[in-house]
């Protein structure tokens, strides 16, 4: 068992790898009435092509998400979501590009709920009938996303950056692709990826760590996978596909994304790089930046920029989102500002102020059991955890941040995705 702790933030994590390969992480929270458990599977929408022993499989787009919907169905005819809801716990599941997660949060009935929870994740039950039944529901979920302008803009940015990496496909797939999902391909995915060495559980709440490890372990029935499973990762050129894409939707003001395709994923370096990008963003385009002040005072923007550094197996990129009636001007100003900082470097004053803010953000990250659980599971499959971040953060220096600034924000790696309002006839 590994224990990592931080004295200032006064938190610790216990990490244990079981014999079957499953990892369990426990972050005790004394006094918390709420308990949170999340079971993560290192399988997401990008994992649509793989080898099992010597046979190659391509599965339909959206299968990871479809499978997540179908996990709740049980052989005894019950639906685990209903059972968990009757116990008064808040149960849910989600699928991202690279992760599928099952979770619940409870104030009472934790162990009763745990029985059901660990049972359903370990025992799939797919039939032609129950798979068919879900199709209409998922189609409506896809259509709901079609009406979200930010989502359309994000997906376009991915398609502008990536030639072959399946991050350029929609997490839920399309109406056409999910039509090809059946119980056979669902079982194929389950049997090869829902295996202990490809999963982890995080618990956060007020239970003694010894007790919770025991309780979890005694409910684990799954065995290591005897198949040899390899993901087939599409070859991805360093170059972007295209510079720009604009579409129209029923919105009030144009929204835009600027994204920079970064070098491919490299484990060791990513925590540091992630932190550096965050610091760069706060300094150059954050609410205290002179760029933000200028754009706001000129009436070019009305709210702050959103930004993120996304990375996982074989992709990494930075994206910036904003809203403006004068998108071209804003994009140009952002470019000039990056050029300025790339040439001039970052001031010590900005650097230390933003570091102070980030320390506060780390403390805040330990406020809520659900946030803690999500944070640990998300970072786990990328080979890190929140404590690694704090450690790297303390050691981070300005020179490294400036180096990342020069490496990442290159014009030739930049794409722009815009959603414009539809012009109404009445307004003309």
């Amino acid at each position: 068992m590994q224990i990592i702790e931080n004295d200032k933030i006064k938190e610790k994590v216990y990490i244990k790898k079981l014999q079957n390969g499953l990892t369990i992480m426990v972050i005790p929270k004394k006094g918390s009435q709420k308990k949170y458990i999340i079971w993560g599977v290192n399988y997401g929408s990008v994992d649509n092509h793989f080898m099992v022993n010597d046979e190659e499989f391509k599965v339909p787009d959206g299968i990871a998400h479809y499978l997540e919907h179908k996990m709740f169905e049980q052989r005894n005819g019950k639906n685990s979501l209903d059972v968990l809801t009757s116990l008064g716990v808040d149960a849910n599941a989600y699928t991202t590009n690279n992760l599928t997660a099952y979770l619940f949060e409870s104030t009472d009935n934790f162990y009763e709920a745990l029985d059901e929870f660990m049972d359903y994740v370990q025992n799939p039950y797919y039939t032609d009938e129950n798979v068919e039944k879900e199709r209409g529901i998922i189609e409506q979920e896809i259509m709901m996303y079609d009406d979200y302008p930010e989502w359309a803009m994000y997906m376009n940015a991915m398609r502008l950056m990536y030639h072959n990496n399946p991050i350029n496909i929609d997490i839920a797939g399309t109406k056409e692709s999910i039509a090809k999902i059946d119980k056979e391909n669902l079982y194929r995915v389950y049997n090869n990826f829902y295996v202990p060495e490809n999963m982890a559980i995080v618990f956060c709440g007020d239970i003694d760590e010894k007790e919770i490890f025991e309780e979890l372990e005694k409910r684990i029935t799954m065995k290591s996978n005897s198949n040899d499973v390899k993901r087939i990762i599409a070859d991805e050129p360093e170059e972007i596909v295209e510079k720009r894409k604009e579409i129209n939707m029923d919105i009030s003001m144009p929204i835009f994304t600027i994204a920079y395709k970064d070098k491919k994923y490299d484990d060791k370096d990513m925590v540091k790089r992630d932190l550096a990008v965050e610091i760069i963003m706060y300094i150059i385009i954050g609410k205290s930046s002179s760029l933000y002040r200028r754009l706001y005072e000129e009436g070019l923007i009305y709210s702050d920029f959103g930004f993120d550094y996304e990375f996982a197996r074989n992709y990494s990129h930075v994206y910036i989102q904003g809203q403006s009636y004068e998108v071209e001007k804003v994009i140009n100003e952002i470019k000039n500002e990056f050029d300025y900082f790339i040439n001039q470097g970052i001031s010590d004053k900005d650097f230390s102020r933003i570091k102070r803010k980030l320390y506060g953000d780390f403390v805040r990250a330990f406020n809520d059991v659900a946030n803690i659980g999500n944070n640990f599971i998300n970072k786990y499959f990328k080979g890190s955890n929140l404590f690694d971040y704090i450690e790297e953060f303390e050691a981070l220096n300005k020179d490294y941040v400036e180096e990342v600034l020069k490496e990442v924000f290159k014009e030739e790696k930049k794409v722009v995705s815009i959603v414009n309002p539809i012009q109404n006839e009445e307004e003309k």
Binding site: K8, I9, K10, G31, S32, Q33, K34, N79, D82, T85, S86, L87, G88, V89, D90, A91, T107, D108, N109, K133, E134, R135, G136, I137, E139, Q140, E141, M143, M144, D146, D147, P149, M249, D250, I251, S252, M253, G286, K287, S288, S290, Y292, R293, Y296, G299, Y302, R353, I354, R356, K357, L358, Y359, G360, D361, V363, R364, F366, N367, D368, I422
Partner: protein
Amino acid sequence: MKENNNIEIKEGIKLHLIKTDLFKTNLACVLITVPLKKEDVTCNALIPFLLRRGTENLKTQYEISETLENLYGSIFDCGVDKSGDNQVIKFYMDGINDKFLLSEEKLLNQDLSLLFELVFNPLLENGLFKSDFLEMEKNNLENVIKGKIDDKDSYAFNDCLEKMYNNEGFGLYKYGYLEDLNKITLEKITEAYFRLINNAKIDIFVSGDFDFKEVEDFIKNNENISKLQARKPDYIINNPLKENKNKTEKINEYKEKMNVTQGKLILGLNTLYTKENYKYVGLMYNAILGESANSKLFQNVREKAGLCYTAKSNFIKQKRNIFIKCGIEIPNYEKAVDLIKVQIDEMKDGQFTDEDVENAKTYIISGIKDIETEQDSEIVYYYGQEMSGTQEDLLEYIDKINKVGKEDIIEFAKNVEINTIYFLESKNS
């Protein structure tokens, strides 16, 4: 560990301290409450936009942001909301607890001072707000109001609400209206601001792990607080049973068109049940009808009929309304409405089991227990008590839920009426 304390600082100004050691942060907020009126709603909504631009001592937004970053990234936020027929202007400050700082500092005191400075000590020139700030923030609010259409789900809900309430009171859009925005002048908004600060109901909440006496004294002695005068505030006590609801003669149906791929269906229901246990029975009814994953709507409209991904109902107790929201394929409109009506009728006929009742209790009680696990929801709860003039603690709340029986729910169901059916559909349909 749980301790609450209500202190009247001056008449009309209350301090509510909530002690909890479950969090890394302290959360403080100032809530200013006034009755919702068409003629004031836009001007009041604009006030927080102006206040966050600068104070007497921090003259620009940029200085405010820098100060917040130096305070370990404390988060300042402001906005407007509705509580029944009242408009609430909200200011929040969220900072990490002194226990977790890198060196010994009184961060909570600094956060509180900054919060009060932002709300009560604005940057004025010759007694008026700055004209360039006003012009910019009018544009900003104009964008927010126009931006109503961006999120189609909430657009449909707000549009339905406005139609149901004829643009009055609770039906007003919390950010106001373009035609009123254009009329706002420097004099008018400055006057509106001082009217709020001098006459409106003010509630200050602080939640976190700190010494009560110390924080109470600190706040009372803060110069921006001590300069406030006593007042007899005008606001509307939330008492749903006094809310007049007429029987619906004919269901109002609206169909609106936009460029959407999915139709957004909203049903607005009135509830005419008037017994004292109204709130608790209403919560139970709503849970069984459509709030939880075990509910009739989720089970029958989503799971069995596969008509939608979202199907949910929401109980607005202050106004005795239930809203059902559903995203569906446009041609399925009739089918979905019929199926939802079946669920409402089945509730009237008592077609739900004792198990459904038990599940609903468990569901609601677990939600009540969750209130204490988030600082914000705890503040919202106690503010709700303050606004209804009650002092019910969470244990009493749970107890009253436990007392609701199946018969109560059937009686409630018989007094539920569909008032409005609203559908946002595609321009091509």
